[in-house]
């Protein structure tokens, strides 16, 4: 049975110029222990669909779906109290800007211990010990010292490790990572992706990786969903997607990668889209 199941999810935003459909009838499933990559460019609705799962969208958003369930729990008609039992414990999320995700006024140690105390009901002492253990696990150098550091005293890669430590603190069964390495240098990106994949295997958790980077997809995913303008274009296991992309948009994305350039010019999306999408 699928861990997360979404059928016909639509998200509309009320704007001053009328209703705007950000996600348009998306179906997705994630199995236990699976790594699903959702790829798309800006405006493809890849983040919005996952924020809908997390219940993090603003009030201007209207969410409709035939089904949106996590492990048998109906996420659509859940009370706030029920949602709090899941979000932050069973399902956790990390975001693109690690430095912006942390509160600059508190030490990172305080912030991770707060998560442990409030979400898992730990005592101060237990929370401190567990925070130290988590910092070691995500590979933060000098963990004891770093617990008393403020976010601005750490690099972007280290802040992302802190965010990952917070996200895995409750041993979640589903981790949603929204562009976790986009703001980082390539060598740091490699370390963070390796860490995420190691943790994913160790905990057997499902991982949804939202990204725009085909290289990241190639190095992490089991299965891939390609989104464009709120619609799902293609879904395939990672090997078939790169070997034989079916949808013109996927082909366009792959050939727009400079490393795949064959001639003098890079093909652009318009070279591939005849009437296919419009």
């Amino acid at each position: 049975m699928a861990l997360l199941k979404i059928r016909n999810l639509t998200v509309r935003f009320a704007t001053s110029t009328g209703s705007f459909t950000a996600v348009d009838g998306i179906d997705t499933e994630v199995d236990r222990g699976e790594v699903l990559a959702i790829v798309g460019e800006s405006g493809s609705g890849k983040s919005v669909s996952m924020l809908a799962v997390m219940g993090l969208l603003p009030d201007t958003a209207t969410i409709t779906a035939d089904e949106m369930s996590y492990d048998g729990h109906d996420l659509l008609h859940m009370t706030k109290a029920e949602r709090r039992q899941l979000i932050g414990r069973e399902i956790t999320m990390i975001f693109q800007e690690p430095i912006a995700s942390l509160n600059p006024s508190f030490t990172v140690g305080f912030q991770i211990e707060e998560v442990l105390r409030l979400n898992l009901g730990m005592s101060r002492r237990d929370a401190h010990a567990r925070a130290l253990e988590l910092f070691r696990q995500v590979g933060i150098p000098l963990p004891e010292e770093k617990l008393t550091s403020y976010p601005h005293q750490m690099s972007g890669g280290q802040c992302q490790r802190v965010m990952i430590a917070m996200a895995i603190a409750s041993k979640p069964r589903l981790l949603i990572a929204d562009e976790p390495t986009t703001a980082l240098d390539v060598t740091i990106q490699k370390q963070i992706l390796d860490l995420l994949m190691d943790l994913q295997e160790e905990y057997g958790m499902a991982l949804i990786l939202i990204t725009h980077d085909m290289g990241v997809v190639a190095e992490t995913a089991d299965r891939v969903v390609v989104q464009y303008q709120g619609k799902k274009m293609e879904e395939a296991d990672v090997l078939s997607l790169f070997e034989a992309p079916k949808h013109p948009y996927t082909r366009a994305l792959l050939s727009a990668l400079p490393e795949n350039a064959t001639g003098d010019r890079l093909p652009t999306v318009s070279d591939f889209f005849g009437e296919a999408v419009r």
Binding site: D31, G33, E41, S42, G156, D185, V186, T187, I188, Q189, K190, L193, E201, G204, H212, D213, M214, G215, V216, V217, A218, E219, D222, D237, V238, L239, F242, E243, A252, L253, L254, A256, L257, P258, E259, N260, A261, D264, R265, L266, P267, T268, V269
Partner: protein, 284 residues
């Protein structure tokens, strides 16, 4: 081929702190970098954050004066610490910045953005001709004369970067410094802007200094590559040579960290993952 840009042993020190009681500290952002670029070619400067690549870009674009070393543009030594660049020199070197949202004034219409360099550096050009030149440049970068009176917020990121490129080209520069010009753009838009840059280079015989952290973009656009790390050029050479046979350990590390979309690599990874799963006896 004539050399458009040459740098000899350029250094840049930043002095930090030194408040009322604290001792000041000197950070060596560039520790002596030398390079040269021929006319019509592209030099790519590659490095991670903190490597000094943007510091070097600002020196080449005549925004900052270096602490030491010589900068030569079309064979002439340039030192902006001694003498402010005159309009002739300023016209030769132009820059395009990374963030097309931050580099355009939100209250300035596109037409005015494009005409401003002419007003300052070519005051002899009449207003009508200025407007004609700006409209022609809009068309050249793939926009249209109808965009002349619009404001930056009415454009997408890719269109804004086209505007920034158009503005940089208004003075017919010989050298364009591009600081991460496509890293804020989506992949498909990135491809369009890279194509535009390649076309413009051919048409106007432009020389590019292309600063980037993205090795796949560099491999596509560069003629020469310089890899910098901690203020030092750790690897310099022709693109083919650097990519085929990197000699420096840091360059190799950078290449190894860059994700590849090679099908065989994916096949190997998927097989390894499946084997690990079966070994662990995970139900799947």
């Amino acid at each position: 081929m004539s050399v458009v840009l040459e740098g000899r042993n350029i250094t840049q020190d930043y002095h930090i702190g030194g408040g009322l009681f604290g001792a000041s500290k000197t950070v060596q952002a560039l520790k002596g970098v030398s390079f040269s670029v021929e006319k019509g070619k592209t030099l790519a400067i590659v490095g991670e954050s903190g490597s000094g690549k943007s510091t070097l870009a600002r020196i080449i674009a005549l925004i900052d004066a270096p602490s030491g070393g010589d900068l030569l543009i079309e064979g002439q030594p340039v030192n902006i610490a001694l003498k402010r660049p005159d309009p002739v020199l300023r016209s030769k070197v132009q820059m395009v910045f990374q963030n097309p949202y931050g580099s355009l004034n939100p209250r300035q219409k596109i037409g005015s953005v494009l005409m401003e360099p002419l007003v300052i550096n070519r005051p002899a050009i009449a207003a009508e001709e200025r407007r004609a030149l700006a409209e022609a440049m809009l068309v050249r970068v793939g926009l249209g004369p109808e965009h002349f009176n619009r404001f930056p917020h009415m454009f997408s990121g890719g269109q804004r970067q086209r505007i920034a490129i158009a503005r940089a080209l208004m003075l017919n520069p010989s050298l364009l410094v591009l600081d991460e010009p496509v890293s804020a753009l989506d992949l498909s838009v990135q491809a369009q802007v890279l194509n535009l840059l390649a076309d413009l280079q051919e048409e106007f015989g432009l020389t590019y200094v292309f600063v980037s952290h993205d090795l796949s973009v560099v491999r596509y656009i560069a003629d020469d590559v310089m890899v910098i790390s901690q203020g030092l050029a750790v690897e310099q050479g022709k693109r083919e040579a650097v990519f085929a046979n990197p000699t420096d350990a840091y360059t190799r590390q950078l290449f190894a960290a860059t994700p590849v979309t090679d099908v065989e690599a994916i096949r190997a990874r998927v097989a390894k993952r499946q084997a690990a799963r079966e070994a662990a006896g995970a139900p799947r």
